[in-house]
Structures are given as C-alpha cells and as structure tokens.
C-alpha cells in the first residue's frame, strides 16, 4: 500500500461520501421538519438516475406516467378534503395540468438530441414534483401521528415505490455518460472530471441549502417548524406547506444525487435503498439533527467503505453498518435523553 493507492482510495471515498452526504442532509431535513424517517429517499435517487438514463437513450421516461398517476391521487385527496375553490383550482393546476403538460412537452421534444444540462432539468421537472405529491397523499393526512406510525408509512411508501420502479424501469439497470470525461493530473494522482463535478455539485448544494435556510423567509419558516412545530404554527406557518416544501427539497436533493451517481455505477430500480441506508448511517452520526455532523459522517462512511473494500472486501458492508453501533452508544452515553411528547 503506497501513497498513490491511499490517494486513489481517498478520492473514491470522498466521491461516494459526497453522495451519501446529500442523502444524509435530506434525511435530517425531512426528520427535523416532519418527524418522518424518510426511507424512500433512496428511491428518488434511483428514479432520478433511471429517468436520466431513459432520456439519454431517447425514450420517453415512464416516470412521467407515474407522475401523472400520483398527481391524480393527490388531486383526489385534495378534493376529498376540499377547503375552498382556490385551493382546488391550484390542486388541479399542479396535480393534473402540470403532469399532462409535461408529458405533452416530452412527446414533442426531440429527446435524443437534448444536451446534458437540458436532460438534468427535464429529469428534475419529472421526478421532483412527486416529492410534495407524496407528502400530500401519504403523510399530510396523518401529520400529527407518532413517529412510529410515520415510520411504518414511510416503509410502505418505500415498498410501493420499489414496486412501481420495477414496473416502470424493468429489472435491468442503466448507466449514463459522465458529465466530464476529462482526466486531470494532480502530482501523481489522476482525478476524473466527473469526480470533481460530484464534489463541486455537492458543495454547491450544501452552500445553497445553507443560504436558503439562513437568508430566505421560507427557509426560516422551515427552521422554525423544525425547532418547535406548535410554536411555528402559532406564528402563522402552515405545517402542510412546511411539509410539502421539505419533501420538495428532499426530492430535489435525491434526484440530483441520482443524476450524479448514475455515471459512476449501474443503478437498478432497487439500488436506492442501500445507498440511502448508507446516507442514513451518516444521518444517525449527526443524531438526525446536525447538518455538519451528518455531512462529516457521510464522508467518514464513504472513506470507511473505500478503505475496507481494499483490505477486506468481503466484509465491507458489515464494517460500514457496524459503525452505527459505537455511534449509537456514544450518542446515548453523551446526550441526556428527553422523552418526546407524543
């Protein structure tokens, strides 16, 4: 084992760690605002990656129809608990008109000739709206339920999404072409262009999220909800809006990480879960509350994974997931436990 190998392993670990970090941030965000342990986070990654791959292959991504189906469901829920003509009007616009308009647009667009950036935008436009719709259908009606109930629903949503993923994408996986094929030489180390894209994009997203939470009214509203839900409500922050906004952000992060990871590895309809789980380990390191700790934990998970694959590849996943035990012990010993009011 020489310096060159250490550098390469480090590079690989940081690249994967950056992806885990994005997922970990989304998990922490969703949990802080809505108390949902968002297991389907990985599915957004897989759907984003596979939608991107379908666009690259010049096919109409089947996720468009999933979006339309979910939109109809969300509209149904809205109609069922109708509150006013304006809300219904907006619901029809977003849940019915938007998916259909998007499908029509994709029908007309020459998919095979789109540039990479256009593909990323189309992928986001298709998959991201599913986040808020999912919240509307599955979580908003039971927003006040105990954490355990929300967790069970989240498992159910995960299983449903994996099933629909198989239906939409088939059992086989796909890869996409990297954003950059360039190879940079740093001393003796070869750095792939795509690696830099992944790390840069993650940094930009993290800084963007920081600015959003620190500088904008909506971001501050989410933070307020995370700190004290009832207090925020008394200040006029709608919990439903906060939930939808959170799921929107989680979906954006999930889809972007999917787009970033697709050139690195082959993504299958069920790949999201394992990648999401590693993000979850990182989120646990951050106590499901601290963003910087979660991000650092994610880099740690990535590095640990990379180095343990080198030394003991057969036990790699065992080593990564065992990390959670000392972390939990350390957390439960150092932080005094407060019973959560349910």
């Amino acid at each position: 084992m020489d310096a060159e190998i250490i550098a390469m392993l480090g590079q690989d670990g940081v690249t994967n760690g950056a992806i885990y970090a994005l997922l970990a941030l989304a998990l922490v965000l969703v949990f802080a605002v809505t108390r949902v342990i968002f297991i389907p986070q990985g599915e957004f990654l897989a759907w984003g990656a596979l939608t991107m791959a379908a666009l690259e292959g010049g096919h109409l991504p089947t996720t468009v129809w999933l979006l339309a189906g979910l939109g109809v469901l969300a509209l149904g829920v809205d109609l069922f608990s109708a509150t006013g003509r304006r809300t219904i009007g907006r619901s029809v616009l977003w849940n019915l008109a938007y998916p259909l308009a998007l499908a029509g647009l994709l029908w007309v667009l020459p998919l095979a000739e789109l540039s990479t950036w256009a593909r990323v935008i189309v992928t986001l436009a298709i998959v991201v709206p599913m986040g808020p719709m999912l919240y509307r259908v599955a979580f908003q009606p039971v927003a006040e339920a105990p954490v355990l109930v929300l967790l069970i629903i989240s498992v159910a949503v995960h299983l449903a999404m994996v099933g629909f993923g198989l239906l939409a994408f088939g059992p086989e996986g796909s890869r996409t072409t990297p954003f950059s094929e360039a190879q940079l030489e740093l001393g003796t180390l070869m750095v792939g262009g795509h690696t830099l894209v992944v790390i840069l994009a993650s940094l930009v997203l993290i800084v963007g999220l920081y600015l959003f939470f620190d500088r904008t009214l909506y971001g501050k509203a989410l933070r307020a909800t995370a700190i004290n839900r009832n207090g925020a409500r008394l200040m006029g922050i709608s919990p439903a809006l906060a939930g939808r906004l959170t799921f929107f952000l989680a979906a954006v992060i999930g889809v972007l990480s999917g787009v970033l990871v697709a050139p690195l590895t082959t993504i299958y309809y069920d790949s999201g879960f394992l990648i999401g789980l590693k993000g979850f380990v990182a989120a646990i390191i951050g106590g499901l509350a601290s963003y910087p700790l979660a991000a650092a934990g994610a880099i740690l998970v990535g590095l640990l994974e990379s180095f343990s694959s080198f030394w003991a590849s057969a036990f790699k996943d065992v080593i990564v997931f065992t990390l959670i035990i000392p972390v939990l012990m350390w957390r439960s010993l150092t932080s005094h436990h407060v019973e959560e009011e349910e």
């Binding site: 190998i5 390469m8 392993l9 690989d12 690249t15 994967n16 992806i19 198989l166 088939g170 059992p171 086989e172 996986g173 796909s174 890869r175 990871v261 690195l264 590895t265 082959t266 299958y268 069920d270 790949s271 394992l274 990648i275 990379s306 180095f307 694959s309 080198f310 590849s313 057969a314 790699k316 996943d317």
Partner: protein
Amino acid sequence: MKLKNLFVMTAAALAATPSLADINVGVIASMTGPAAALGAETRKAVSLFPATVGGEKVNFILLDDTTDPTAAVKNARKLISEDKVDAILGPNLISTATAIADVANAEKVPMISVAPLDVSGDKRGFVFRSEPSADLMVQRVVADMLANGVKTVGFIGFSDSWGEVLHKALTKAAEGKITIVASERYGRADPSVQAQALKVISAKPDAVFVGASGTPAAMPQITLRERGFKGRIYQSHGVTSKEFLRVGGKNVEGALIPVGPVLVAEQLPDSHPSKKSAVAFVQTLEAKYGADSRSTFAGASWDAWLLLQNAITGAQKAKIKAGTPEFRAALRDGIEKTSKLVGTNGVYTMGPNDHAGYDASAIVLIKVENNHWKLVK
C-alpha cells in the same frame, strides 16, 4: 346443508376434471425481484412450448417465486396439491431450486431445474437439471488461460453464494496450474469497485476472472480498464444477456465468456452437435421477440422442456395415464434414461448416478467484439 354439500361436490368435480385428461406442468420462475431478468428469459421459452404432446393437451402453469426461496416452496406446494402437476420446471436460482428440491423429492414429483443446483448423492431422487455446473464452465475458462500462457489470475466476484460458487470452482480448476494472486468481493448494488480493482491491479495478475452475473458484472471490468489494466478479462456464464453489453459499452470489449452454444448458434462449426437445434430454437425465439433476444437462460429452460417432453412421450407409449403417481414415476425414470438428447445448449445423457448429464465438450468460449458475441475458434 344439502345445498352446501352440492356446492362442495360440484367444486370438487370441477377441480378434478382437467387433471384427469391433460398433462399439467408447473413452471416456477423469478419474474420479479433481483433475478427478474432470468425469469423473463424463462417466460420467453415457456411461451414457445407446444400445447400438445402425442395428442394429449399440456397445460403450463407459470408461477412467480419473487426470487424468494419461501415463495418458491409455497409455489411448489400449490402446484402439487392444487394443480396436481405431473412435473415442475425451473426455478432460476440455486437458492430457490434447493428449497423446492426437497418438496419435489418428498412428494415424488419430477423436477428439472434450470439453475445449476447440486444433484449429487441423496439429493438426486426426483431432481434433475438442464444447466451445466459452474465447475464445467470455469474449467473451460482455465483451459483457455493455460492455452494463452496465463500464470497468475486475480478474482473479483459477488459477496454472495454465486461469487462463492465461482471462486471455489476457480480455485479447484486452477490448482497447481495457475496462482490466484488476489480474491476480492463486491456487492451487486455497490456504487464503486475502485478499491477492489486497485488491489487486484497491484497484485499484477496476467488475467482477471470476474465472478458475477448480469449487468452488475460489467462494473469491475469497466473499473479495471479505466485504471489501465491491459490483461485478459474473463467473465462467468452469468453475464450472457444483451443488457450486459448495453451497460458495459466499449469497456467490456474483449471480455471472454464460457457459454452454452445457443448464444452463438449460427457461428458454430457444422460439426458441433447442438448447431441444428440451437439455430432452430434461436430462429423461433427471435421471430417472436425480435433480433438479438436470445440468451442461454431461455435455452436452458427450453432444454428442460425437451428433457421432459422426451420422458412424456415414453410414458405415453407405455400407456400410463397422466395425473397419476405412476405417470410421475414414469416421467422420473424416463428423464433418468435420457440418452444423447440433443438440446440447444448441449447434449444430455442422464443416468442413475448423473442427474445433470451435461456433456462438457458442448461449452464454447465467446468474446465480446463490436458489442456482439463472437465465437472464439
């Protein structure tokens, strides 16, 4: 009360009617779950099975085991107790096949697996298989390595039972001839195999054997080539689907793979025993599913049916009625007496001590060239 009895009797009569007249064959395949790609191939083959054999109608009952041994056993029990099947074909994986084999043996229903499960010793009974063992396949690989002067080999394989099977086969076949200088493992869903590839490259092997299957098998080869590995790369026979070529792209060019002959049917020399049946099968299959839709997996399912059909014809000649225990026993004995049956994937000769009966000389080595399979002469 009377009415209820009447219902029960009618229902019983209705349920019993088909099983007396027709031959029922249960097919278990992994149509969903991680092995769904294999199950899809089995389904293609099943759609080509004939509707009658020797004038008797054959019903095929296709069930999905969701790549789960528990579900596979449930399916097997359902097929045997409710559908009264005379034989079972499938399933696709060793894990599911091993689970069903016990049921088939206990209920005395002949079963032909398309997964290379172990059929030695007391596990034999009513269980047969139409797929060559991993040992035979890997022996073909090692023979080619020796012919090309390979002295050291690196292994990267799945961290599951399939990776283990291939690693054992390689260790056995290479013993005393080729040194295995690195043995690395990875998971199907791993985002990267950089570390494993680096370790293998740093051991400087002449060749690398990738012990994986399906599209995840492309990743180690892609990474090895990106990291500048120039030696020969061998893949196992688990990768032979079009999807592997699609995902692997230009980086899997030159991969060497041992396979049953069906994949390169037209390129086979005329002297190859399976040429005619393989070409005929491929033409029928591709007429229905489009060009390049062939796979060795569909071929293995087809061969399983050929073995069974042969035995059914034998039992019909002996005038044994379908749906009876005697018929099932006759099928079992018939399959065991299979002699020089030419299938699409090779030639089968079964015997009381050999329920696989695959002739290793049928295995061919192919190479990926211009994103197509090319027979290595």
